[in-house]
Amino acid sequence: MTQVLEIDRLTKGFSLHHLEKDIPAFEDISFRVAAGEFVLLKGANGAGKSTLLRTLYRSYLPLSGEIRFHSSHGLIDLARAADVDVAHLRRTEIGFVTQFLTARPRVSAEAIVAEPLRLAGWEQEAALEAARKALETFGVKPDLWAAYPTTFSGGEQQKVNLARALILPQKLLMLDEPTASLDANARGALVARLQELKDQGTAMIGVFHHPDDVMHLIDRVVDLTPDAAPEEERDDVAL
Protein backbone atom coordinates (compact mmCIF):
# COMPACT_ATOMS: atom_id res chain seq x y z
CA MET A 1 0.00 0.00 0.00
CA THR A 2 1.16 3.51 -0.72
CA GLN A 3 1.68 5.33 2.55
CA VAL A 4 0.37 8.89 2.74
CA LEU A 5 0.98 9.74 6.36
CA GLU A 6 3.27 8.30 9.03
CA ILE A 7 2.66 9.70 12.48
CA ASP A 8 5.47 8.91 14.85
CA ARG A 9 5.43 9.46 18.64
CA LEU A 10 3.44 12.65 18.25
CA THR A 11 2.88 14.60 21.47
CA LYS A 12 0.79 17.71 22.06
CA GLY A 13 0.03 19.77 25.12
CA PHE A 14 -0.80 23.37 25.84
CA SER A 15 1.11 25.77 28.09
CA LEU A 16 -1.33 28.25 29.57
CA HIS A 17 1.00 30.96 30.76
CA HIS A 18 -1.51 32.97 32.79
CA LEU A 19 -2.32 29.85 34.83
CA GLU A 20 1.30 28.69 34.79
CA LYS A 21 -0.07 25.35 33.79
CA ASP A 22 0.80 22.70 31.21
CA ILE A 23 -2.18 20.77 29.95
CA PRO A 24 -1.34 17.53 28.14
CA ALA A 25 -3.53 16.59 25.15
CA PHE A 26 -2.05 13.33 23.87
CA GLU A 27 1.30 11.61 24.08
CA ASP A 28 3.38 9.40 21.81
CA ILE A 29 0.71 8.74 19.22
CA SER A 30 1.95 6.64 16.29
CA PHE A 31 0.02 5.29 13.32
CA ARG A 32 0.06 5.28 9.53
CA VAL A 33 -2.52 6.02 6.90
CA ALA A 34 -2.28 4.67 3.35
CA ALA A 35 -3.83 6.01 0.16
CA GLY A 36 -7.55 5.26 0.04
CA GLU A 37 -7.61 4.30 3.69
CA PHE A 38 -10.13 5.66 6.20
CA VAL A 39 -9.02 5.82 9.83
CA LEU A 40 -11.54 6.57 12.55
CA LEU A 41 -10.28 8.23 15.72
CA LYS A 42 -11.97 6.95 18.84
CA GLY A 43 -11.85 7.97 22.49
CA ALA A 44 -13.93 9.64 25.17
CA ASN A 45 -14.63 13.38 25.10
CA GLY A 46 -11.36 15.09 25.92
CA ALA A 47 -9.20 12.21 24.71
CA GLY A 48 -7.74 14.58 22.14
CA LYS A 49 -9.37 13.48 18.89
CA SER A 50 -10.04 16.95 17.49
CA THR A 51 -6.76 18.19 18.94
CA LEU A 52 -4.95 15.49 16.99
CA LEU A 53 -6.68 16.47 13.75
CA ARG A 54 -5.77 20.13 14.27
CA THR A 55 -2.19 19.19 15.09
CA LEU A 56 -1.92 17.19 11.87
CA TYR A 57 -3.30 20.22 9.98
CA ARG A 58 -0.84 22.42 11.93
CA SER A 59 -3.46 24.69 13.41
CA TYR A 60 -1.77 23.45 16.58
CA LEU A 61 1.98 23.14 16.95
CA PRO A 62 3.10 19.73 18.20
CA LEU A 63 5.49 19.49 21.14
CA SER A 64 7.45 16.56 19.73
CA GLY A 65 7.26 13.69 17.29
CA GLU A 66 6.96 13.53 13.52
CA ILE A 67 4.16 13.80 10.97
CA ARG A 68 5.74 12.45 7.79
CA PHE A 69 3.56 13.33 4.81
CA HIS A 70 4.25 11.86 1.38
CA SER A 71 3.50 14.99 -0.61
CA SER A 72 3.71 15.23 -4.38
CA HIS A 73 6.94 17.13 -3.70
CA GLY A 74 8.41 14.28 -1.65
CA LEU A 75 8.45 13.42 2.03
CA ILE A 76 7.94 16.33 4.43
CA ASP A 77 7.58 16.42 8.21
CA LEU A 78 4.51 18.54 8.89
CA ALA A 79 5.54 18.92 12.52
CA ARG A 80 8.50 21.01 11.38
CA ALA A 81 7.53 22.23 7.89
CA ALA A 82 7.85 25.96 7.23
CA ASP A 83 4.58 27.90 7.48
CA VAL A 84 4.66 28.75 3.79
CA ASP A 85 5.01 25.06 2.87
CA VAL A 86 2.09 24.13 5.11
CA ALA A 87 -0.01 26.88 3.54
CA HIS A 88 0.87 25.57 0.08
CA LEU A 89 -0.04 21.98 1.00
CA ARG A 90 -3.37 23.14 2.46
CA ARG A 91 -4.23 24.73 -0.88
CA THR A 92 -3.23 21.70 -2.91
CA GLU A 93 -3.07 18.39 -1.02
CA ILE A 94 -4.40 18.52 2.52
CA GLY A 95 -8.04 19.26 3.33
CA PHE A 96 -9.88 19.82 6.58
CA VAL A 97 -13.64 19.47 6.91
CA THR A 98 -15.54 20.80 9.89
CA GLN A 99 -19.22 21.40 10.43
CA PHE A 100 -18.84 25.15 10.26
CA LEU A 101 -18.90 27.46 7.28
CA THR A 102 -16.97 30.70 7.35
CA ALA A 103 -19.35 32.71 5.21
CA ARG A 104 -18.18 36.06 3.93
CA PRO A 105 -20.43 39.02 3.26
CA ARG A 106 -21.44 39.44 -0.38
CA VAL A 107 -19.93 36.18 -1.62
CA SER A 108 -22.44 33.83 -3.23
CA ALA A 109 -22.77 30.16 -2.33
CA GLU A 110 -21.49 29.05 -5.74
CA ALA A 111 -18.50 31.40 -5.51
CA ILE A 112 -17.59 30.09 -2.06
CA VAL A 113 -17.75 26.50 -3.30
CA ALA A 114 -15.78 27.35 -6.45
CA GLU A 115 -13.02 29.12 -4.54
CA PRO A 116 -10.75 26.08 -3.92
CA LEU A 117 -10.90 25.32 -7.65
CA ARG A 118 -10.09 28.94 -8.53
CA LEU A 119 -7.10 28.85 -6.17
CA ALA A 120 -5.99 25.64 -7.88
CA GLY A 121 -6.00 27.49 -11.20
CA TRP A 122 -9.38 26.55 -12.71
CA GLU A 123 -11.13 28.90 -15.14
CA GLN A 124 -13.94 30.92 -13.57
CA GLU A 125 -16.79 29.35 -15.59
CA ALA A 126 -15.60 25.76 -15.24
CA ALA A 127 -15.14 26.26 -11.49
CA LEU A 128 -18.64 27.71 -11.10
CA GLU A 129 -20.13 24.89 -13.15
CA ALA A 130 -18.46 22.29 -10.91
CA ALA A 131 -19.55 24.26 -7.84
CA ARG A 132 -23.22 24.22 -8.92
CA LYS A 133 -23.02 20.48 -9.47
CA ALA A 134 -21.58 20.01 -5.98
CA LEU A 135 -24.29 22.19 -4.42
CA GLU A 136 -26.92 20.13 -6.21
CA THR A 137 -25.36 16.90 -4.92
CA PHE A 138 -25.59 18.15 -1.35
CA GLY A 139 -29.21 19.18 -1.85
CA VAL A 140 -28.90 22.98 -1.90
CA LYS A 141 -31.80 24.34 -3.97
CA PRO A 142 -30.85 26.08 -7.26
CA ASP A 143 -32.58 29.29 -6.07
CA LEU A 144 -29.91 29.63 -3.41
CA TRP A 145 -26.81 29.09 -5.54
CA ALA A 146 -26.34 32.74 -6.37
CA ALA A 147 -27.45 33.94 -2.90
CA TYR A 148 -25.22 34.89 0.02
CA PRO A 149 -24.94 32.06 2.60
CA THR A 150 -24.50 34.57 5.45
CA THR A 151 -28.31 34.52 5.72
CA PHE A 152 -28.79 30.74 5.25
CA SER A 153 -29.97 28.45 8.03
CA GLY A 154 -27.34 26.42 9.87
CA GLY A 155 -28.18 23.26 7.93
CA GLU A 156 -27.96 24.94 4.51
CA GLN A 157 -24.67 26.63 5.47
CA GLN A 158 -23.27 23.27 6.42
CA LYS A 159 -24.16 21.83 3.01
CA VAL A 160 -22.38 24.73 1.31
CA ASN A 161 -19.42 24.13 3.58
CA LEU A 162 -19.23 20.43 2.70
CA ALA A 163 -19.60 21.10 -1.02
CA ARG A 164 -16.68 23.51 -0.78
CA ALA A 165 -14.49 21.36 1.44
CA LEU A 166 -14.87 18.25 -0.72
CA ILE A 167 -14.89 19.75 -4.21
CA LEU A 168 -11.17 19.37 -4.85
CA PRO A 169 -9.82 15.83 -4.40
CA GLN A 170 -7.01 15.94 -1.84
CA LYS A 171 -4.32 13.48 -0.97
CA LEU A 172 -5.14 13.71 2.73
CA LEU A 173 -8.44 14.72 4.27
CA MET A 174 -9.21 15.42 7.92
CA LEU A 175 -12.86 15.16 8.97
CA ASP A 176 -13.97 16.74 12.25
CA GLU A 177 -17.56 15.64 12.88
CA PRO A 178 -18.87 16.73 9.50
CA THR A 179 -22.17 14.86 9.90
CA ALA A 180 -23.28 16.64 13.07
CA SER A 181 -26.77 18.14 12.54
CA LEU A 182 -27.00 17.18 8.85
CA ASP A 183 -30.31 15.93 7.45
CA ALA A 184 -30.46 12.36 6.11
CA ASN A 185 -30.18 13.34 2.44
CA ALA A 186 -27.14 15.52 2.94
CA ARG A 187 -25.58 12.82 5.11
CA GLY A 188 -26.11 10.34 2.28
CA ALA A 189 -24.52 12.73 -0.20
CA LEU A 190 -21.56 13.25 2.12
CA VAL A 191 -20.96 9.53 2.55
CA ALA A 192 -21.25 9.00 -1.21
CA ARG A 193 -18.72 11.76 -1.88
CA LEU A 194 -16.33 10.36 0.73
CA GLN A 195 -16.60 6.93 -0.90
CA GLU A 196 -15.80 8.50 -4.27
CA LEU A 197 -12.74 10.30 -2.85
CA LYS A 198 -11.63 7.15 -1.06
CA ASP A 199 -11.83 5.19 -4.32
CA GLN A 200 -9.70 7.89 -5.94
CA GLY A 201 -7.07 7.31 -3.27
CA THR A 202 -7.68 10.07 -0.70
CA ALA A 203 -6.41 9.06 2.74
CA MET A 204 -8.87 10.09 5.47
CA ILE A 205 -8.72 10.56 9.22
CA GLY A 206 -12.03 11.27 10.87
CA VAL A 207 -13.74 12.03 14.14
CA PHE A 208 -17.43 11.12 14.11
CA HIS A 209 -19.83 11.36 16.98
CA HIS A 210 -22.03 8.76 15.28
CA PRO A 211 -19.66 6.53 13.30
CA ASP A 212 -22.63 4.48 12.04
CA ASP A 213 -23.00 7.08 9.28
CA VAL A 214 -19.64 6.16 7.80
CA MET A 215 -19.50 2.57 9.04
CA HIS A 216 -18.76 0.94 5.70
CA LEU A 217 -15.95 3.41 4.91
CA ILE A 218 -13.90 2.64 8.01
CA ASP A 219 -10.78 0.54 7.52
CA ARG A 220 -9.17 1.02 10.88
CA VAL A 221 -9.82 2.52 14.30
CA VAL A 222 -7.22 4.35 16.36
CA ASP A 223 -8.13 4.67 20.02
CA LEU A 224 -6.75 7.75 21.74
CA THR A 225 -7.78 6.66 25.20
CA PRO A 226 -4.51 6.51 27.16
CA ASP A 227 -3.16 2.96 27.42
CA ALA A 228 -5.62 1.66 24.83
CA ALA A 229 -4.45 -0.94 22.36
CA PRO A 230 -2.63 1.09 19.69
CA GLU A 231 -4.78 0.01 16.73
CA GLU A 232 -7.86 -2.08 16.16
CA GLU A 233 -9.27 -3.73 13.08
CA ARG A 234 -12.55 -2.40 11.80
CA ASP A 235 -14.60 -5.27 13.37
CA ASP A 236 -13.96 -3.64 16.71
CA VAL A 237 -15.81 -0.41 15.94
CA ALA A 238 -18.07 0.17 18.90
CA LEU A 239 -21.62 0.91 17.84
Binding site: A79, R80, D83
Partner: protein, 265 residues
Protein backbone atom coordinates in the same frame (compact mmCIF):
# COMPACT_ATOMS: atom_id res chain seq x y z
CA UNK B 1 9.13 23.68 24.28
CA UNK B 2 7.97 23.56 20.71
CA UNK B 3 9.81 22.31 17.67
CA UNK B 4 11.89 24.66 15.58
CA UNK B 5 10.52 24.88 12.05
CA UNK B 6 12.54 24.02 8.96
CA UNK B 7 13.33 26.37 6.09
CA UNK B 8 10.83 26.15 3.20
CA UNK B 9 11.37 23.07 1.03
CA UNK B 10 8.31 22.94 -1.20
CA UNK B 11 7.81 26.61 -1.98
CA UNK B 12 10.84 27.60 -4.01
CA UNK B 13 9.91 31.16 -4.92
CA UNK B 14 11.73 33.85 -2.99
CA UNK B 15 9.80 36.18 -0.71
CA UNK B 16 8.70 39.33 -2.54
CA UNK B 17 9.49 41.42 0.51
CA UNK B 18 12.35 40.90 2.92
CA UNK B 19 13.21 43.18 5.78
CA UNK B 20 16.21 42.15 7.77
CA UNK B 21 17.47 43.25 11.18
CA UNK B 22 15.94 46.73 11.27
CA UNK B 23 16.23 48.94 14.34
CA UNK B 24 15.04 52.50 14.90
CA UNK B 25 14.98 54.77 17.92
CA UNK B 26 13.37 58.12 18.54
CA UNK B 27 15.57 59.76 21.16
CA UNK B 28 15.68 57.42 24.12
CA UNK B 29 12.79 55.32 22.83
CA UNK B 30 13.68 52.23 20.82
CA UNK B 31 10.65 51.90 18.51
CA UNK B 32 11.85 48.85 16.58
CA UNK B 33 14.61 46.51 17.68
CA UNK B 34 16.28 44.04 15.32
CA UNK B 35 13.11 43.06 13.46
CA UNK B 36 13.04 40.82 10.40
CA UNK B 37 9.98 40.05 8.30
CA UNK B 38 9.14 38.59 4.93
CA UNK B 39 6.12 38.09 2.69
CA UNK B 40 5.84 35.70 -0.24
CA UNK B 41 4.24 36.74 -3.54
CA UNK B 42 0.47 36.82 -3.12
CA UNK B 43 0.70 36.35 0.63
CA UNK B 44 -1.03 38.53 3.23
CA UNK B 45 1.17 39.17 6.25
CA UNK B 46 -0.66 40.52 9.30
CA UNK B 47 1.19 42.41 12.01
CA UNK B 48 -0.57 42.74 15.36
CA UNK B 49 0.40 44.47 18.55
CA UNK B 50 -0.87 47.24 20.76
CA UNK B 51 -0.04 50.94 20.45
CA UNK B 52 3.67 51.49 20.77
CA UNK B 53 4.60 47.97 19.69
CA UNK B 54 6.47 49.37 16.69
CA UNK B 55 4.18 47.85 14.08
CA UNK B 56 3.33 51.13 12.34
CA UNK B 57 6.97 52.23 12.37
CA UNK B 58 7.86 48.97 10.68
CA UNK B 59 5.17 49.54 8.04
CA UNK B 60 6.43 53.08 7.39
CA UNK B 61 9.89 51.59 6.84
CA UNK B 62 8.39 49.26 4.25
CA UNK B 63 6.96 52.38 2.58
CA UNK B 64 10.40 54.03 2.82
CA UNK B 65 8.97 56.90 4.87
CA UNK B 66 11.26 55.94 7.74
CA UNK B 67 14.83 54.81 7.29
CA UNK B 68 16.12 52.62 10.12
CA UNK B 69 19.54 52.97 11.74
CA UNK B 70 20.44 49.40 10.82
CA UNK B 71 19.07 46.70 8.59
CA UNK B 72 18.18 46.03 4.98
CA UNK B 73 15.07 45.90 2.80
CA UNK B 74 14.69 44.11 -0.52
CA UNK B 75 11.81 43.68 -2.94
CA UNK B 76 12.30 40.78 -5.34
CA UNK B 77 11.41 42.68 -8.51
CA UNK B 78 13.19 43.30 -11.78
CA UNK B 79 15.24 46.55 -11.83
CA UNK B 80 15.04 47.05 -8.09
CA UNK B 81 18.30 47.49 -6.22
CA UNK B 82 19.56 45.46 -3.29
CA UNK B 83 18.95 47.53 -0.21
CA UNK B 84 16.09 49.98 -0.68
CA UNK B 85 17.08 51.93 2.43
CA UNK B 86 20.16 53.12 0.51
CA UNK B 87 18.20 54.69 -2.35
CA UNK B 88 18.36 58.46 -2.74
CA UNK B 89 15.22 60.49 -2.17
CA UNK B 90 14.20 60.67 -5.84
CA UNK B 91 14.63 56.95 -6.49
CA UNK B 92 12.73 56.21 -3.30
CA UNK B 93 9.80 58.38 -4.36
CA UNK B 94 9.67 56.77 -7.79
CA UNK B 95 9.80 53.27 -6.34
CA UNK B 96 7.02 54.02 -3.87
CA UNK B 97 4.84 55.54 -6.58
CA UNK B 98 5.19 52.61 -8.96
CA UNK B 99 5.70 49.48 -6.85
CA UNK B 100 4.15 50.16 -3.44
CA UNK B 101 0.65 51.26 -2.50
CA UNK B 102 -0.37 52.34 0.99
CA UNK B 103 -3.64 52.96 2.82
CA UNK B 104 -3.41 54.89 6.07
CA UNK B 105 -5.83 54.85 8.98
CA UNK B 106 -6.09 58.62 8.67
CA UNK B 107 -7.20 59.56 5.13
CA UNK B 108 -5.65 63.03 5.55
CA UNK B 109 -2.25 61.37 5.32
CA UNK B 110 -2.99 59.76 2.00
CA UNK B 111 -5.36 62.16 0.24
CA UNK B 112 -5.76 65.78 -0.75
CA UNK B 113 -9.08 66.28 0.95
CA UNK B 114 -10.33 69.16 -1.20
CA UNK B 115 -9.37 67.78 -4.63
CA UNK B 116 -11.74 65.48 -6.49
CA UNK B 117 -11.60 61.78 -5.67
CA UNK B 118 -10.70 60.88 -9.24
CA UNK B 119 -8.03 63.58 -9.18
CA UNK B 120 -6.52 62.07 -6.05
CA UNK B 121 -6.21 58.73 -7.80
CA UNK B 122 -4.94 60.27 -11.05
CA UNK B 123 -2.21 62.13 -9.16
CA UNK B 124 -0.52 58.83 -8.47
CA UNK B 125 -0.43 58.13 -12.21
CA UNK B 126 0.91 61.63 -12.93
CA UNK B 127 3.84 61.01 -10.58
CA UNK B 128 4.61 57.89 -12.59
CA UNK B 129 4.71 59.95 -15.79
CA UNK B 130 1.28 59.54 -17.38
CA UNK B 131 0.18 62.77 -19.12
CA UNK B 132 -2.87 61.97 -21.29
CA UNK B 133 -6.02 63.26 -19.62
CA UNK B 134 -8.20 60.54 -21.13
CA UNK B 135 -5.86 57.78 -19.91
CA UNK B 136 -5.64 59.35 -16.45
CA UNK B 137 -9.40 59.61 -16.16
CA UNK B 138 -10.00 56.06 -17.41
CA UNK B 139 -7.34 54.53 -15.15
CA UNK B 140 -8.60 56.45 -12.12
CA UNK B 141 -12.16 55.35 -12.82
CA UNK B 142 -11.06 51.75 -13.21
CA UNK B 143 -9.19 51.80 -9.89
CA UNK B 144 -12.09 53.46 -8.07
CA UNK B 145 -14.47 50.90 -9.54
CA UNK B 146 -12.24 48.03 -8.41
CA UNK B 147 -12.29 49.56 -4.92
CA UNK B 148 -16.10 49.53 -5.13
CA UNK B 149 -16.36 53.29 -4.98
CA UNK B 150 -19.68 54.64 -6.34
CA UNK B 151 -18.80 56.07 -9.74
CA UNK B 152 -21.44 58.80 -9.62
CA UNK B 153 -19.28 60.44 -6.98
CA UNK B 154 -16.03 60.48 -8.95
CA UNK B 155 -15.64 64.22 -8.69
CA UNK B 156 -16.62 64.61 -5.05
CA UNK B 157 -13.69 65.69 -2.85
CA UNK B 158 -12.88 63.23 -0.02
CA UNK B 159 -13.79 65.86 2.57
CA UNK B 160 -17.44 65.44 1.55
CA UNK B 161 -17.32 61.63 1.76
CA UNK B 162 -17.95 59.20 4.62
CA UNK B 163 -15.02 57.48 6.33
CA UNK B 164 -15.61 54.23 4.47
CA UNK B 165 -15.66 56.02 1.10
CA UNK B 166 -12.48 57.93 1.94
CA UNK B 167 -10.77 54.60 2.57
CA UNK B 168 -11.96 53.38 -0.83
CA UNK B 169 -10.41 56.45 -2.49
CA UNK B 170 -7.14 55.74 -0.68
CA UNK B 171 -7.33 52.14 -1.79
CA UNK B 172 -8.00 53.14 -5.41
CA UNK B 173 -5.01 55.46 -5.31
CA UNK B 174 -2.89 52.68 -3.82
CA UNK B 175 -3.78 50.11 -6.48
CA UNK B 176 -3.99 52.45 -9.50
CA UNK B 177 -0.53 51.48 -10.71
CA UNK B 178 -0.99 47.80 -9.86
CA UNK B 179 1.71 47.79 -7.20
CA UNK B 180 3.59 44.64 -6.29
CA UNK B 181 3.09 45.43 -2.62
CA UNK B 182 0.10 46.89 -0.80
CA UNK B 183 0.63 48.24 2.72
CA UNK B 184 -2.35 48.78 5.01
CA UNK B 185 -2.02 50.70 8.28
CA UNK B 186 -5.15 50.14 10.39
CA UNK B 187 -7.26 50.58 7.23
CA UNK B 188 -10.62 50.07 8.94
CA UNK B 189 -9.96 51.42 12.43
CA UNK B 190 -12.50 54.09 13.32
CA UNK B 191 -15.12 52.94 10.80
CA UNK B 192 -18.54 51.63 11.82
CA UNK B 193 -18.52 47.86 12.19
CA UNK B 194 -20.76 47.32 9.14
CA UNK B 195 -18.68 49.67 6.98
CA UNK B 196 -15.56 47.96 8.27
CA UNK B 197 -16.88 44.58 7.09
CA UNK B 198 -17.53 45.96 3.60
CA UNK B 199 -14.08 47.53 3.29
CA UNK B 200 -12.47 44.29 4.49
CA UNK B 201 -14.52 42.39 1.95
CA UNK B 202 -13.30 44.69 -0.82
CA UNK B 203 -9.70 44.13 0.29
CA UNK B 204 -10.23 40.38 0.31
CA UNK B 205 -11.68 40.46 -3.22
CA UNK B 206 -8.87 42.59 -4.56
CA UNK B 207 -6.33 40.30 -3.00
CA UNK B 208 -7.91 37.21 -4.53
CA UNK B 209 -8.47 38.72 -7.96
CA UNK B 210 -5.05 40.31 -8.29
CA UNK B 211 -2.89 38.22 -5.98
CA UNK B 212 -1.30 41.36 -4.53
CA UNK B 213 1.18 40.82 -1.73
CA UNK B 214 -0.13 42.67 1.32
CA UNK B 215 1.17 43.69 4.70
CA UNK B 216 -1.59 44.76 7.06
CA UNK B 217 -1.00 46.32 10.45
CA UNK B 218 -3.79 46.37 13.01
CA UNK B 219 -4.43 46.15 16.71
CA UNK B 220 -7.76 44.53 15.81
CA UNK B 221 -7.39 40.76 15.80
CA UNK B 222 -10.66 40.35 13.89
CA UNK B 223 -9.29 42.37 10.98
CA UNK B 224 -6.08 40.35 10.94
CA UNK B 225 -7.98 37.07 11.18
CA UNK B 226 -10.16 38.03 8.21
CA UNK B 227 -7.30 38.89 5.90
CA UNK B 228 -3.96 37.45 6.93
CA UNK B 229 -2.38 34.17 5.86
CA UNK B 230 0.48 34.57 8.29
CA UNK B 231 0.70 36.67 11.44
CA UNK B 232 3.57 38.38 13.21
CA UNK B 233 3.01 39.54 16.80
CA UNK B 234 4.97 42.58 17.99
CA UNK B 235 5.52 43.95 21.44
CA UNK B 236 7.76 46.80 22.59
CA UNK B 237 9.53 46.99 19.25
CA UNK B 238 10.26 43.29 18.98
CA UNK B 239 8.69 40.28 17.28
CA UNK B 240 7.49 37.83 19.91
CA UNK B 241 5.90 35.25 17.64
CA UNK B 242 5.08 34.46 14.02
CA UNK B 243 2.95 31.69 12.56
CA UNK B 244 0.09 30.69 10.31
CA UNK B 245 -2.92 32.83 11.15
CA UNK B 246 -5.08 29.95 12.41
CA UNK B 247 -2.21 28.67 14.55
CA UNK B 248 -1.58 32.08 16.14
CA UNK B 249 -5.28 32.38 17.01
CA UNK B 250 -5.89 28.78 18.10
CA UNK B 251 -2.57 27.81 19.64
CA UNK B 252 -0.65 30.96 20.59
CA UNK B 253 2.71 30.14 22.15
CA UNK B 254 4.04 33.33 23.68
CA UNK B 255 2.50 34.57 26.95
CA UNK B 256 1.82 37.97 25.34
CA UNK B 257 0.05 36.44 22.32
CA UNK B 258 -2.04 34.27 24.63
CA UNK B 259 -3.06 37.34 26.58
CA UNK B 260 -3.91 39.19 23.36
CA UNK B 261 -5.98 36.33 21.91
CA UNK B 262 -7.80 35.64 25.16
CA UNK B 263 -8.61 39.30 25.65
CA UNK B 264 -10.57 39.37 22.40
CA UNK B 265 -14.36 39.47 22.71
Amino acid sequence: MTLTLDAPRIVETRPLLEVHGVSKSYGPVQAVRDVSAHAYPGEVLGIVGESGSGKSTLLRMMNLEEIPETGSYTLDLADVSDNLFELDRFARRMLCATKIGIVYQNPHLGLLMKHSSSGNVAERLLVAGERSFATLRAAATEALDASEFPLDRLDAPPIELSGGMQQRVQLAKAIALEPALLLLDEPTTGLDVSVQALVLDTLKRLQQDRQITMVIVSHDLGVIRTLADRVMVMRRGEVVETGLADQIFQDPQHPYTQQLVHAKL
